[in-house]
């Protein structure tokens, strides 16, 4: 697993590490656009202070693909047209990865629960659910 530093916000200043995949949305933990994995669990990065990630494992959307090779979830999102404007996509993918890492063969209900903290303002949920349901070849190793 690869680790990429996350852009977090502290003391009103944004430290720009030129890592822009994680999106800044509502900043109150409601929209899920800023979702990253912290020690393997989906969290809203807007609700985590920068010093709190000291010595923690953080995976952002930049770490999902293996170089040029997209993660199976990303391939499935493309296959199912699960990206409309794309703003929610990085967060959706991280929530989906958390789900599949813990529940390799989820029910539709489990999928919908897993992305219930991610808002898609284009309302393209059905394609996103289909993409997660029909993802193929997800590596189950950590």
């Amino acid at each position: 697993m690869k680790f990429v530093l996350i852009r977090t916000i502290i003391n009103g200043r944004q430290y720009d590490l030129e890592v822009t995949g994680t999106k800044r949305g509502c900043e109150i933990g409601e929209c899920g656009a800023c979702t990253v994995l912290m020690n393997g669990q989906a969290v809203n990065s807007c609700l985590v202070l920068a010093p709190q990630i000291d010595n923690q494992e953080i995976l952002t959307i930049e770490g999902l693909a293996d170089g040029e090779k997209l993660h199976p979830l990303q391939e499935s999102f493309l296959d199912h047209d699960a990206v409309h404007c794309g703003f929610c996509t990085p967060g959706m993918l991280m929530s989906a990865k958390d789900l599949l890492d813990h529940t390799p063969d989820p029910s539709e209900h489990e999928i919908r629960t897993a992305i219930s903290g991610n808002l898609c303002r284009c309302s393209g949920y059905q394609q996103i659910v289909d993409a997660i349901k029909e993802v193929e070849g997800v590596s189950r190793e950590q």
Binding site: G29, Q41, A42, V43, L47, V48, L49, P51, S95, S116
Partner: protein, 284 residues
């Protein structure tokens, strides 16, 4: 976000010393799902110091001792949801945390934060009061135990003194013949604040007569407490739909006796009655 001082104590003693030293401008940070939102507001009373207790490992985990379950305050909602102990001995608490926020919020938010934030909509509180929970508060000068039912004085206000840190939540295991439930009405399924909720526990004897009944509504009374007037309607009787309907109406009457009639009463009056009836029916 205004600048603030950041402290990350590694022990309860260290955290209590900081609380005593920093005074009124200090705020405890646990899961951050409320505190970080507050910190972004430009209000004058925003905390000037943050005491991040998430590094204190003794404040994490769920344990059992003979007849008691102990939940440490930094335990997240997700950890409670996945806990076999909670699933066996306090299933209504498991139901309640399953409906809190979203997966991301449940992965960070803690039971201690839910209690100490003291919002009227806090979903862990009605089940914990129904379970007879007690909490332990520690400060630099000592510690004390308080019944959770006596902890809250009004929304967002508790009897906790400045300088006190919540260090433990404990409650008796539900007996194996008890049945429990939690029901919540929100405006949608996820990321939804409880408009009304009900925690219920029922125990029957072998002939089916109710020997124990506990009903704790959430987000409906000025503070949480068991509604003994409704519970007493049930005890000593065999459960019927009519009886549950009657108990629901009683809770509704009690709610209105506290809140008076306001704009929301038109829907809350029938809805709390139905929620209570359904919560009781779930206890089968």
């Amino acid at each position: 976000m205004k600048p603030f001082e950041y402290y990350s104590p590694q022990s309860v003693a260290e955290a209590c010393a900081l609380l005593a030293q920093l005074g009124s401008g200090a705020k405890i940070l646990a899961g951050g799902t409320d505190v970080l939102v507050e910190l972004r507001k430009s209000a004058d009373d925003v905390a000037s110091s943050i005491i991040d207790i998430t590094g204190i490992s003794s404040l994490k985990g769920i344990e059992e001792s003979s007849n008691t379950i102990v939940i440490k305050p930094l335990t997240t909602h997700t950890e409670i949801l996945r806990s076999a102990l909670v699933g066996t001995y306090a299933p209504l608490l498991k139901t309640a945390v399953a409906g809190i926020g979203s997966p991301q919020i449940r992965n960070r938010g803690t039971i201690g934060g839910n209690i100490m934030n003291a919002a009227a909509c806090a979903d862990t509180v009605p089940p914990l009061i129904a379970l007879g929970a007690r909490i332990r508060l520690q400060s630099s000068t000592g510690d004390r135990t308080v019944a959770l039912s006596e902890f809250f004085t009004k929304p967002y206000i508790t009897v906790a003194q400045r300088g006190e840190l919540l260090v433990e939540i404990r409650f008796p295991k539900l007996p194996s013949d008890a049945r429990s439930s939690f029901m919540k009405l929100g405006r949608r399924n996820a990321l939804s604040i409880s408009r009304l909720s009900v925690a219920a526990i029922l125990t029957r004897d072998q002939s089916g007569v109710l020997t124990d009944a506990r009903i704790v509504p959430g987000a409906s009374l000025p503070t949480w407490h068991r509604v003994s007037e409704a519970e007493n309607l049930l005890i000593g009787h065999k459960p019927t739909r009519e009886l549950f309907v009657e108990a629901g109406k009683k809770v509704s009457d009690i709610m209105i006796s506290f809140t008076g009639r306001r704009w929301s009463t038109e829907y809350k009056e029938p809805v709390i009655a139905v929620l209570v009836r359904r919560a009781l029916e779930e206890c089968h």
